[in-house]
Amino acid sequence: MQLTLWTYEGPPHVGAMRIVTAMRGMHYVLHAPQGDTYADLLFTMIERRSKRPPVTYTTFQARDLGGDTAELFQRAARDAYETFKPEAMIVGASCTGELIQDDPAGLATALNLPIPVIPLELPSYQKKENWGAAETFYRIVRALAQPKPPRSGTHPTCNILGPCALGFRHRDDLKEIKSLLSDLGIAINVVAPEGASPADISRLADADFNVVLYTEIAGPAAEFLKKQFGQNFSKTIPIGVNATREFIEEICALAGLAVPVEMDASRLPWYSRSVDSTYLTGKRVFIFGDATHALAMARVAREEIGFTVCGLGTYTREFAREVRAAAADLGVAPLISDDYLEIEKAIIAAQPELVLGTQMERHIAKRLGLPCAVISAPVHVQDFPARFSPVMGFEGANVLFDSLVHPLMMGLEEHLLGLFRDDFEFNDQAAPSHLGPSKQAQPETPPDFAGWTVEAEKELKKIPFFVRGKARRNTETFARERGIASISVETLYDAKAHFGR
């Protein structure tokens, strides 16, 4: 048993729902109790989809358990076929359905429906949402994809794999990457799962290669297509200017095209070099999310904005190795966890000036009074913005510059705050002025080192708050190392001189 306050991922059948909800002409018959229908609201409320997810739940009750829940499942599947007339169906069980061992696969096959019925085995007590999504997509591709007919066209073609329901910015990433590919002269055969019908899946093999945008979702399907039909797939995730350039090179190699000479279309490099961005330099940022986004954001933060990454982690255990390697490269301890309290602890210890995370880290950051930007699922309704805001491609890099910088103080503002820190309306308790007039609590790091004198504590308050945590830490280390029991104003400045940049 695992004590859990908040979860980063739902159960694996929610992953399966993310695939079918993205697709057309598919239906999912899920052996599950009524409460599990809550999952519909993830799609209709959080993502504001205008259609119900194509899911029929059997909603068995306690009184059915003694009787025939298998018959209930078959009736639900038959009715779902009659009502929705899907082109293909997936069937499976949620955690409770799994326990009553009714064998949805066998029961559905016995119905002899005139459409492909794809059984799912999603072990709810071992696996989680992203795994469930990847497994479901893989099963669908495996069941439906047909061998390649002889090629007729001359233009290179590709599939885009990975965008699905409830993904972080999938909708906009897809639009951006589609236009990037079309600029390169590459035709798109199928996008899947988003918008794909079972018929579309059946002709995946028509393309020359696959573009994988979200490894967590499309990795296993892409591996299968490579093994089965010899389709190569891209491995670079085009988040950030550098990664987008490498992505273009990789795609051109896959398509047998020359890499275009002129391809830079992002404002990020200039914005990062312009003088106002001096204040971004070396800002400590803590990054946590799914592996794809955490890794990509760490690179953007370090290489393209000049932040110092002071913490890197993921809840995606499947990619722990990659995240460990990146963390080692950055010189920070990797955090592989889905324990919300552990992550909170790590954030407090790292003393970041900016947190990039999921909705959970947003709540942590809010409590700690730290600026934060959301860079990964799980997300809330406000992270499905009305405006076009991809994080992939060159436009995505522009969006990233804005969204990573927006929560912070503007350059001059920060200096003025340092100068006039006791100003009654312009002090370090005030939120950045471009975020509106609201006051934001900036809780102090609690003094855990007993030896601060009142004067030194006062002096510490005069140091701009965005470096105060660091100053406190350094001074305490300095004092401890020298066996100084009581930190005076003198000690504070000695330490400052010692650690001075």
Partner: protein, 424 residues
Amino acid sequence: MSALNILNRPASAGCDRPVLRERGQHEVFCGLTGIVWLHRKIQDAFFLIVGSRTCAHLMQSAAGVMIFAEPRFATAIIEERDLAGLADMHDELDRVVTQLLERRPDIKLLFLVGSCPSEVIKLDLSRAAERLSQKTLPQTRILAYTGSGIETTFTQGEDSCLTSLVPTMPTTQDKNLLIAGTMADVVEDQFRALFAAIGITNIGFLPARHAGEMPAVGPNTQLLLAQPFLGETVKALEARGATRIDAPFPFGAEGSELWFRAAAKAFGIAQERVTPAIEAPRERARRAVARHRDTLDGKSIFFFPDSQLEIPLARFLSRELGMRPLEIGTPYLHRGILGADMDLLPDALVSEGQDVDRQLARCRAEKPDLTVCGLGLANPLEAEGLRTKWSIELVFSPVHGFEQAGDLAELFARPLERTSRLRV
């Protein structure tokens, strides 16, 4: 039947109005959801769900943005090794509870909340609660109840929780008024003051705001329900000697008036004494409700089953705002408890249980002006051109009593208001 006569109707008068019983896919939360409001109400209680990742995910999705400093609910997620018998579940539960109480020594009352998985594998949480209590009392009392989706629908989770509290309530021989059902603190305070003006001062609320303050019950207890979904709680309290007062639920000016009058009657207080006490708030409520009459009068309304509040709400909306209920769906119809409201209901189809696809078909055919439904259905119906009101808000907002009657009407008026304003 006229409104004031409702207080004199024979107790046995159930409604013999036909009810459509449906038995298909339900699109309703399970009883775990009650934790979202119960943990805010009982301020030193913690709710530990013993369940699956799905249960944890449901709680998080239903609680939405309500991520507090540290929530007073959590899930002990059952894992493969528990099921495979590699770990003894009771040992595991002991470990988790110990871990939890070490972290939160301020917790006075810990609920072990059963879920579908814990029930299917027949994990006996009541026994576990008893066993664990011996270690943790007097500091922390541990109780168990079920919020599972195979046993409970949405608000029935509160019924199940309150039922588990009944044995812990002290016994009294005094004549007292016991009001059952979670309401906002501010509403409780208003009610306490109004009852005092009427002449009833020995009042308890179930659940109380703190674990150690649960109200007393005994043979002279008059039980007045504030929420209609408390069938099991009523049975448990009746077994402790309480007598339930039959009344419509306190929604709207009329519902609230009848509710107070029914209590006064049960206490042998003359109705003439009630009138001056409630006159001012009742007039305020009437005025506040009337402000929304233009928007809602004559409009048709369709209820999908959700909280069991549907029948009293339909009664309020039809009698005080002139709305026309087309179908009133309820997950479960307790005729005894809802008899008074049923009698004041206009002609409309009452349906119990659900077959969501068939109900959607009826709803589309009827094209109601307003549809009350759960979060999973609201946006899809809006996209089809229907106006909707999320039912969950009716449970999460203070809507009881005179002072909230206007707010309650406003919850229904706002979606229509939005439509009339938007020009896009």
